[in-house]
């Protein structure tokens, strides 16, 4: 039976008249990576702040290991780890000192915190940087050390707020690998992101959040299910193809299909039922069109997100670019 480490019921947060988070209901299963995917301003950070104790819910309940911590999240802070969207370690202190200090906040004794800190520095490939001031670290190194600081007390559930935002591609890859290995080692992870690919790559289950509301929640396969009902084959042809050359005949012969123009020599065929490739190739051949490539197009999570939330692909892309800058 699945064990729910975190359960949220009707969680809402209001700032004056603005409803930032609107009646959220979800749970996080032990040992999974649960993703909160949504654009900026969707309510992701407000939710994480309520779950970790930096914000008070206006209404609703937060259960951790089936115990209600809504009124006093402080009591749960021993079993939760937090990695905020911006590094919040001490600039003057070196990597080892920062980790040891963070461990001390959880009452870990000196010998043990030094042992854990050194182990984490090694695991996160920061051993040589361990005795250098935190302010001299690159953004990627800072993020890695912040992640290490979030797990030094070995929390039951780790909250990651936009873990790869604002760092270079190589560092982001390293962070993702670390997140994956932490999860494989048994850490339950709740992460927010607005990178669709990141959510797809890392998360076992995802919740789409828009305007403070969860629009859809489920495993990636489940989320993709609706979109996958539509079968798509993309054909590439030799030379420029005029649609009117064959459109009428095509519609007549393949009435269950929909023909979509992509570019001069590329078309897509959408169908609600499985497509047989041979009749299609024969059809194009009979119209003097030489098929150079035919491939099945699987819908991406991005397309599912756009379809479900109604948020234009461009909005997420612009945010992505904006954050990278």
């Amino acid at each position: 039976m699945e064990q729910h480490i975190l359960r949220v019921e009707n969680l809402s947060k209001k700032f004056n008249d603005f409803l930032a988070v609107n009646s959220l209901n979800f749970s996080v299963i032990k040992n999974e990576i649960f993703g909160f995917l949504g654009p900026n301003g969707a309510g992701k950070t407000t939710t994480i702040n309520m779950l970790t104790g930096l914000a008070r819910p206006t209404s609703g309940s937060i259960f951790i290991n089936d115990k209600d911590y809504t009124a006093n999240i402080k009591k749960a802070q021993e079993i939760i780890g937090i990695v905020p969207d911006e590094s919040n370690l001490y600039e003057e202190m070196d990597g080892l000192e920062n980790l040891c200090f963070c461990a001390s906040l959880y009452g870990i004794k000196k010998a043990e915190r030094i042992h854990r800190a050194k182990k984490l520095l090694q695991q996160f490939n920061l051993t040589t940087a361990g005795n250098k001031p935190y302010k001299s670290y690159s953004k990627g190194m800072k993020r890695k050390l912040t992640l290490a600081a979030g797990i030094i007390h070995e929390p039951g559930i780790l909250f990651l707020d936009e873990p790869t935002t604002g760092i270079d591609v190589a560092s982001a890859r390293q962070i993702r690998a670390l997140i994956k290995s932490l999860n494989e080692a048994g850490t339950t992870i709740f992460m927010t992101t607005h990178y669709i690919e990141e959510a797809e790559r890392l998360c076992h289950r995802i919740a789409f959040i828009v305007n403070g509301q969860i629009i859809k929640i489920g495993k990636i396969d489940e989320l993709m299910e609706d979109a996958q009902k539509d079968k798509i084959i993309q054909f590439s042809f030799d030379g420029i193809v005029q649609l009117n050359q064959f459109e009428n005949n095509f519609n007549h012969q393949f009435s269950h299909c929909k023909l979509t123009y992509i570019q001069d020599s590329v078309f897509q065929i959408h169908s609600a039922i499985p497509l047989d490739l041979m009749p299609l190739i024969s059809f194009f051949d009979s119209h003097g069109l030489k098929v150079t490539e035919a491939r099945i197009i699987k819908p991406s999570l991005e397309e599912v997100f756009v379809k479900i939330t109604g948020i234009e692909r461009d909005v997420m892309k612009k945010e992505k670019e904006g954050r990278k800058k």
Binding site: F15, T52, G53, L54, A55, R56, K74, K75, Q77, E78, I82, P84, E86, N88, L89, Y90, E91, E92, M93, F101, C102, S104, L105, Y106, G107, I108, K109, A149
Partner: protein
């Protein structure tokens, strides 16, 4: 035990990161020394050194503690490292006590710099050391919590310094150190009795010159009450403003 480990390490971290930094050590020595020298050059008699010592000590504590809190709290809040403390399992009360203890110790050390200087010029036999130490501790606690109240009411370090001066300078002139309260305009006198420095300065006068006007117990009680009040207001402000 866990709280004790966290408490000690927060204090130790603040000591290393802020209080033991050369600029702050020099501030702690130079500020009281400069005040002492200024008054000494003006008066050039031992009687006056004795007269100004309570004032210099009180000001050293007040300025030292309130200035430091603006850095250790407001700066950490600005750089978001204070959030890390708020997200730890340490209760807000212990957290704030750990953050302020460093400033209290800093204030106490600041207070004894002018005493050390004065020892070269005046006899110490008349000083009641028990009352003096008690006074310094109580003034340091109240001033630190005043600094805490200021630090949690603003967002920027410069705002904290400006807001501090809004309290500090009127207090220096209203507490009776330089102008006896009886000589102040009538409408200002009630203000003298609601500021902690009045009671702290009176305690120091009792300890050094045996010429305080307020009963020892009352001064200590008022300082204790004001400390608790300022601490509670600061805690409420943190909960209201930072845990939104």
């Amino acid at each position: 035990m866990k709280t004790a480990i966290a408490f000690w390490n927060i204090l130790l971290k603040d000591m290393r990161n802020y209080y033991l930094k050369p600029p702050n050590i020099s501030w702690g020595i130079i500020f009281p020394f400069a005040w002492m020298l200024m008054f000494f050059l003006k008066s050039q008699t031992t009687v006056d050194v004795r007269g100004v010592l309570p004032g210099v000590m009180a000001m050293s504590i007040l300025f030292g503690t309130t200035s430091m809190l603006a850095v250790t709290i407001t700066f950490e809040r600005r750089s978001r490292s204070f959030d890390r403390l708020l997200l730890s399992p340490v209760s807000l009360t212990w957290l704030m006590l750990a953050k302020t203890l460093g400033a209290i110790i800093f204030g106490i050390i600041n207070a004894f710099v002018p005493v050390l200087i004065a020892l070269f010029f005046i006899p110490v036999s008349h000083i009641n050391w028990v009352i003096l130490i008690l006074s310094v501790i109580f003034i340091a606690i109240t001033s630190t919590f005043l600094g805490l109240f200021i630090a949690v009411s603003v967002s920027e370090v410069f705002e904290a310094q400006t807001f501090s001066n809004f309290f500090r300078f009127p207090m220096v002139f209203l507490c009776g150190l330089f102008i006896p309260i009886g000589q102040l305009p009538i409408f200002l006198r009630p203000f003298s009795y609601i500021i902690p420095l009045t009671y702290g300065a009176d305690l120091l006068k009792t300890a050094i010159n045996q010429n305080g006007h307020i009963a020892l117990g009352i001064s200590l009680l008022v300082l204790l009450c004001l400390s608790i009040l300022l601490f509670m207001i600061s805690k409420r402000n943190i909960k209201k403003r930072w845990i939104y």
